[in-house]
């Protein structure tokens, strides 16, 4: 019966993989891009000058609050993300009765020195990849539900893949290049097995991050419809009190930030100001994620007008901490830069595992032909080459769209989706081999030419960055070149037909 079990798992792996392969490819790719969300956001706002040394969080937030006292007047709350050792700007999100995006929210990037958005080009930055990763640009809550369902299927695909792969360790170091289907299988297995702990962890923790949406029944069982009580229980110490309707100036936020940094022994990240300008205003400051694995490990709340400490909370309940740890493992904001790069590399490996799986599906069945096969083949081209092209196009748009253009962030996003649709159409129209070669060539060109384009339009080229010690910009451009190079090699591999595999000479015994 072992055989029947393995066979059914192989069937399950095949079909679950095909069902959500393209969607998962997109989720994995944008998730990998989101590892460097602050760096991407910085790169997409080249007007913010590079500064060496740590940023003064208190000063930056004080300046931001001064600006928001007029620009964000009337908003029920201001959500501020402090600049830190990675992000160069203060991000401010708030909703006003008029204007803003579809939900009425405005997102601004504020200069850390002046607190003003003037002169900085309007863009979503790395936020675009981050949000696409779990919302898929589909209205709430359907995008998140779809992403969560895809993650669930991914976990099934992983488990069934592991069960199917009989000789995991015997094949651990094996890669047989230039042997057609065998090679694709080896690549798919190698990428899957070498980073297997990561794949399992990221999929499982990803499901965890959306758990309140997808598995709300535990909450319903214990809290019924009393959601306020639920939020209070989950995150005590956050005092959101109703507005008094009495105007009162906001206190010294910079001083509160300094106090919070002292109390929480390090950087802070989120600053939420509820009812700014009202006598019942509160300022809640969260601990930064880089000091521990768990996400949102602590927060302090001050009275918004007087600056008096209202509550200080550090989570210590075991199950809650376990959940926060899962969440923190997924967003990976902790640890040294090496860890972040490892997340990035493993994310690329996951994306490539999915991509190679999709290609393997067609390589295995090329003899049978048929409409379904052709559909998969064509869609593969449009997604596996199309998505990297679209991502590059998004960055190209950031450099080329006029800075003063209205609705600029939406414009960049539109370029992303238009490019993707065009690539999918091209994949359908062009003959198979030409489609792949053209797609890979376009990928290579788009990414290789990005750094020169950036240097030409912004003056912050790779040499300038290197001389100024701006490792972020230099690193971003380097990764761009590396990605382009990777696609160029893949393209070359496709263009030159594989030579027959050489049989290794018999080794003589020593």
């Amino acid at each position: 019966m072992k055989e029947g079990f393995r066979q059914s798992m192989a069937w399950l792996h095949n079909w679950s993989g095909l069902l959500i392969g393209w969607l998962l490819f997109a989720i994995a790719l944008t998730g990998t891009a989101a590892v460097f969300r602050p760096e991407t956001s910085n790169w997409m706002r080249p007007e913010i000058a590079h500064h060496a040394g740590p940023v003064d969080q208190a000063q930056a937030l004080g300046a931001a609050v001064s600006y928001l006292s007029s620009a964000g007047k009337g908003a029920p709350a201001w959500y501020l993300t402090a600049p830190d050792d990675r992000a160069a700007f203060t991000q401010a999100i708030f909703s006003l009765p008029r204007g803003g995006d579809a939900n009425g929210y405005r997102t601004l990037a504020l200069d850390p020195r002046t607190g003003r958005p003037d002169g900085i080009r309007d863009t979503l930055g790395g936020e675009f990849f981050y949000r696409f990763h779990f919302e898929l640009k589909i209205p709430y809550p359907w995008g998140r539900i779809l992403a969560s369902a895809a993650a669930m299927v991914m976990l099934v695909a992983l488990i069934s893949g592991i069960i199917t792969h009989r000789r995991i360790f015997a094949d651990f170091f094996t890669l047989r290049p230039r042997k057609g289907q065998r090679s694709w299988l080896d690549v798919h297995n190698a990428l899957g097995v070498l980073a297997l702990p990561f794949h399992l962890m990221i999929t499982f923790t990803g499901i965890m991050t959306l758990i309140t949406l997808t598995m709300p029944w535990a909450i319903v069982a214990n809290y019924g419809s009393d959601m306020a009580r639920f939020y209070e229980d989950m995150a005590p110490g956050f005092s959101a009190r109703p507005a008094l309707g009495k105007a009162a100036p906001l206190g010294d936020v910079a001083a509160m930030v300094r106090d919070a940094r002292r109390r929480m022994d390090g950087q802070i990240s989120l600053v939420i100001i509820n009812n700014p300008g009202d006598a019942a205003a509160t300022v809640t400051i969260s601990k930064h994620d880089d000091g521990q694995i768990a996400y949102a490990a602590g927060r302090v709340t001050y009275d918004g007008v007087s600056g008096r400490l209202l509550s200080a909370y550090a989570e210590d309940r075991p199950m809650r901490k376990l959940y926060d740890t899962f969440y923190g493992l997924h967003v990976g904001r902790f640890g040294a830069p090496v860890t972040r790069w490892l997340y990035f590399i493993c994310g690329l490996a996951l994306t490539a595992t999915i991509g190679s799986g999709l290609v393997l599906w067609t390589v295995k069945r090329s003899r049978n032909g048929g409409l379904g096969y052709h559909l998969v083949e064509k869609l593969n081209i449009g997604v596996v080459t199309g998505l990297p092209v679209a991502a590059a196009a998004f960055l190209w748009a950031n450099r080329l769209l006029p800075v003063t253009m209205a609705q600029r962030p939406e414009g960049e996003v539109r370029v992303f989706f238009t490019s993707w649709v065009l690539m999918i159409l091209a994949g359908f129209i062009l003959p198979r081999r030409i489609g792949w070669i053209a797609g890979l060539m376009l990928c290579a060109a788009a990414w290789l030419l990005l750094p020169p384009l950036s240097a030409w339009t912004t003056g912050r080229g790779m040499i300038t960055s290197l001389l100024a010690g701006d490792w972020q910009f230099f690193g971003f451009d380097t990764v761009s070149l590396a990605i382009g190079l990777m696609f160029a090699i893949a393209c070359r591999h496709m263009v030159r037909p594989a030579p027959a595999a050489r049989v290794p000479r018999r080794m003589q015994a020593a």
Partner: protein
């Protein structure tokens, strides 16, 4: 950084050694039948190096961070060995050996 480098080198040495205990890879790497293959207990030694790699990575600073980092690092080390076995199998043993020696040199500097 030195701690991470040492851990990576130890993992490369360990995985390299492990790959050489597998018949197929041992043959390709011209390791089969050599003096070292006959005298040195490669498998236990390789595992020891891998465990040492994990310990060193977790010993610096927060052990939880170290553990997460090491899991990723181990994958990278295994990938390097895999690529060597695929394209330059004869270099696998020298690679593992050099990694081992280098790691010993760096060890005093990885707190």
């Amino acid at each position: 950084m030195t701690g991470t480098a040492t851990a990576l080198l130890l993992a490369i040495a360990g995985f390299g050694g492990l790959s050489l205990t597998m018949a197929r890879h041992s043959r390709q790497a011209a390791f089969d039948g050599s003096i070292i293959a006959r005298r040195v207990p490669m498998r236990p030694l390789s595992w020891l190096l891998i465990i040492a790699s994990a310990i060193i990575d977790m010993a610096k600073g927060n052990w939880r961070f170290g553990l997460v980092e090491w899991i990723g690092l181990a994958g990278v080390a295994a990938a390097i060995v895999m690529l060597a076995q695929t394209y330059r199998p004869r270099l696998v043993f020298p690679l593992a050996g050099a990694a081992f020696v280098l790691s010993l040199l760096l060890m005093p500097f990885s707190s």
